[in-house]
Symmetry: C2
Subunit: 252 residues, 2 copies
Amino acid sequence: MPALGKVYLIGAGPGAQDLITLRGARLLAQADVVLHDALVTDEMLALCPQAEKILVGKRYGQLSTAQQFINKQLVDYAGKVPLVVRLKGGDPMLFGRADEELRALEEAGIEVEVVPGITTALAAAAATKQPLTKRGVARSVAFFTSSTAPEHSDHHAIPDTDTLVQYMGGREATATAARMLAQGRRPDTPVVVIENCSRSDQRIRRLTLGSLAHGLGPAHGPVLVMLGDAMKMRSHQAPDIAAAVDAIQQRA
Amino acid sequence: MPALGKVYLIGAGPGAQDLITLRGARLLAQADVVLHDALVTDEMLALCPQAEKILVGKRYGQLSTAQQFINKQLVDYAGKVPLVVRLKGGDPMLFGRADEELRALEEAGIEVEVVPGITTALAAAAATKQPLTKRGVARSVAFFTSSTAPEHSDHHAIPDTDTLVQYMGGREATATAARMLAQGRRPDTPVVVIENCSRSDQRIRRLTLGSLAHGLGPAHGPVLVMLGDAMKMRSHQAPDIAAAVDAIQQRA
């Protein structure tokens, strides 16, 4: 029986090829097999031309079944090749279902290591030049996600931090905004919405909590919503280039 | 008058040389001047042998004066050389005083770009293999810092998220833990404390909220405290290597 391979859970970051870590890129270039989800971009997969690349996961529906199959694939490949990479958009330890994969690998006796990635909130803060914390204004930030699952429908799930970042906010952001207003957040609280962060089709929209509660309009990719007084633009801050381009395209 | 240079605010990540992004490493290798703080490691600075390296900032005391001087240095260097890097530990947009630096540069008409970095919480989650979110257990996480400044002594500042990460927790973690207990968090809530995350002298300690409230003991570098039911170890999870080494060293 051959020695078992090692599995690396690697964060790919938000999408741009050069926003992965040096460690992540080096391991990708050495990988025998790369199991990646749909959020991982083609330019990122270009970092592992030698590897067998396998698209796993589903973005919507039947998540638990899909997860069990991913776990099984990770264990199976580790029995066949020395270096298996599980490549995830963003960071593996934040909304990445890492617990299930780590558990399955550990129970099978397979060595596993985690390589962090740039989570989308940090890439979005950089792209918009909007710090998540600000002296005297915001010294706490929460990352959260909303779920339509019945067990998550409680109304206490919106954190009370100064800055709030809602992941996968496309479908839920409007309802969440209404709940925030009901909980006492000001309607003029600044909001920044980013689609396809760091990619060529990145789109930035600036609005207020009050307007967000009336609807976000169509989105064309993963949506991140950032909210709080730290999102207020500075007096000499240049307008977001992507937002400007978007406005021009809408006019044309 | 020569054209003004461009300034990049770059996140160095937690310390290990290969946990900076490809983009950050490429810009470091092209920089004329690198202004860095004391948290940036020597191995990271080895990525820019060609650059003039300037240590700025103070870790304790007189922060605002030091910050104004850093702002002035950034503006001054951008008037002299084409590519100025401001290198910060972790991510620049999270507890990084980026707002002040962006504001100063924008007011001086200097072009600035932000490159995200791996914030310590994500590196700590990876190093301990302890996801910050977990299906059915934790779907929100807050990053916060405590301050001894009088205006921050309110007792509502501890976020209510499932997982909590306290940055710069060395001096404050014990008092914060006592307040969390008073606010109803369970004494057996699992806690992970990381010092010098990702560096050769990384140290991991696992305790409970109840024991943390009685004191953390001496720390020898930047301390991050992670707390919540997501920090519970898995049944087949290997003990943390650094923690094991630490235990051996204490025994010897």
